[in-house]
C-alpha cells in the first residue's frame, strides 16, 4: 500500500541537431532542472557533447546525436523536469563563448515527441559593453544556466534569440493513473467496451 505513493517517469531521447545560421562549430552542455519533489533514480543529470561542425552542403546542419537517458521518481507533478541546453562555440579570437541557452519541459504525455527549442543569448546593456565584450571575448552569460528554467528574475534580462535545437524524446510513465493523475484525455472517461465486439452479430 505504501509503495504506490510515487510515480516514475523514464525519459530516453537525444539532442539531435541544431540550426545556427551564423556559427560553424558548436558544443553543448545539458542540465536537468526539477522541483523539490523529484529525484533522479538513474541516468546522468548533466552532460557535455562533442564539438560538432556545420555540414558544408545545402542542409547546413550541426548534428550531435547526443543521448539522454534519465529516470525520475516523484510524488507530485509540480516541478516537472526541464531540460536546459547551453551551447558554446569559438569566437573570432578562438575563445569559448556562449552561443545560446534553451529550455523545454520533458513532455508530460507518454510516447514519442519531437521538439524544436529556440536558443537565446543574453544581450549586453549598452553599445560600449557590446563592443568590449566582443573585443575581450567575455560575453554576458548566466551564472547558472538553470536560471532560465525558472520564471523569477527573467523580467530584467534582455536576450537575442538565434538558432534552434532539435530534440526528440520517448517518455514512459509508471503509476501515474494509480495515483489519480490523468495525462491523456482517454484516461479520464472509462470506455465501456461491449463484450461482443468483433464477433458476428447475426441476431436480427
Amino acid at each position: 500500500m505504501a509503495s504506490s505513493s510515487v510515480f516514475l517517469v523514464m525519459v530516453s531521447g537525444q539532442i539531435e541537431s541544431a540550426e545556427f545560421p551564423e556559427f560553424d562549430e558548436i558544443y553543448l552542455r545539458y542540465n536537468l532542472h526539477y522541483g523539490q519533489d523529484w529525484l533522479v533514480t538513474s541516468g546522468l543529470e548533466e552532460g557535455i557533447s562533442q564539438v560538432a561542425k556545420k555540414s558544408q552542403d545545402d542542409r547546413q546542419q550541426i548534428v550531435w546525436n547526443f543521448p539522454i537517458d534519465v529516470t525520475f521518481k516523484s510524488t507530485n507533478p509540480h516541478g516537472w523536469p526541464q531540460l536546459v541546453v547551453h551551447c558554446y562555440g569559438s569566437d573570432f579570437w578562438g575563445t569559448e563563448v556562449s552561443r545560446g541557452y534553451g529550455v523545454c519541459h520533458i513532455p508530460i504525455t507518454p510516447g514519442k515527441h519531437k521538439l524544436k527549442i529556440p536558443m537565446f543569448v543574453p544581450e549586453s546593456s549598452s553599445l560600449l559593453q557590446k563592443f568590449t565584450s566582443w573585443f575581450l571575448s567575455r560575453r554576458p552569460e548566466y551564472v547558472d544556466a538553470r536560471v532560465i528554467a525558472r520564471g523569477e528574475g527573467r523580467e530584467v534580462t534582455r536576450v537575442r534569440s538565434q538558432g534552434f535545437v532539435n530534440i526528440s524524446f520517448n517518455v514512459i510513465m509508471k503509476d501515474m493513473k494509480k495515483l489519480g493523475y490523468d495525462v491523456l484525455p482517454s484516461d479520464v472517461s472509462t470506455v465501456n467496451v461491449p463484450e461482443n465486439v468483433g464477433t458476428t452479430a447475426t441476431e436480427a
Partner: protein, 175 residues
C-alpha cells in the same frame, strides 16, 4: 479535492510590428480554486530576434491548483509590450486564453488586440508611440464592459501547455 497541474511554456510571439518584445502574464481563476504551488503571474525576458521574425520567450509556467468546483476554470491573460533601445515600454497587445480543459499536451495560439483611439490619437501614436491602455486589466479576460472599447488586432502569442488532472474521474467529470 480535484487538482489541476499546468506545466508548459509561453513559447513566443509572432505578428507584431516590431521586435524587442516581452510578455507579462497572469492567471485568473474563480473563487473555488486555490493555488497550491507555483507563480500566479510573471514577466518574461525581452527578446530581440537576430535572424527570424518571431520573438521567443520560452517562459516556464508550472502551477498546481486544487479546486472544489468547475466554475472559474483558469484563464491565462497576457500583455505584450515592446521595449525600445532606450528602455521605454509601449503596449503592443492584450490577449487571454482558457487553460485547456482536457489533459495532455496542447499548442495554443492566442490572438491579441490593443485599444485604438481616435484618428488624431492614432497619428500621434505613429509618431510618438504610446497610445491608450486599459485602466483596469480585468477587462482583458472579462466580457463585462467590452462594448465600450474599440480595438485593433495585433500579433499572436504562442503557448505550449501541458495539463495534468487528478481525481476528475472520481467526481464523475468527463473531459
Amino acid at each position: 479535492m480535484a487538482e489541476v497541474h499546468i506545466i508548459g511554456q509561453i513559447y513566443g510571439a509572432t505578428g507584431f510590428p516590431e521586435h524587442s518584445l516581452f510578455c507579462k502574464w497572469g492567471i485568473h481563476t474563480g473563487g473555488a480554486w486555490k493555488i497550491l504551488a507555483g507563480e500566479r503571474e510573471g514577466q518574461s525576458q525581452v527578446d530581440n530576434p537576430v535572424n527570424h521574425e518571431a520573438a521567443f520567450f520560452a517562459h516556464p509556467i508550472d502551477i498546481h491548483f486544487a479546486t472544489k468546483g468547475l466554475q472559474g476554470w483558469p484563464k491565462l491573460h497576457f500583455q505584450v509590450w515592446h521595449q525600445d533601445s532606450f528602455g521605454r515600454n509601449e503596449l503592443y497587445g492584450y490577449g487571454f486564453c482558457h487553460v485547456p480543459t482536457s489533459p495532455g499536451q496542447h499548442t495554443i495560439e492566442c490572438p491579441t488586440w490593443r485599444p485604438s483611439g481616435t484618428y488624431r490619437e492614432q497619428v500621434t501614436q505613429s509618431f510618438l508611440g504610446g497610445g491608450p491602455q486599459l485602466k483596469n486589466p480585468d477587462l482583458i479576460y472579462s466580457s463585462a464592459l467590452r462594448c465600450k472599447l474599440t480595438t485593433v488586432a495585433m500579433g499572436t502569442v504562442h503557448l505550449k501547455l501541458g495539463v495534468i488532472l487528478r481525481n476528475f474521474d472520481k467526481f464523475g467529470i468527463e473531459c
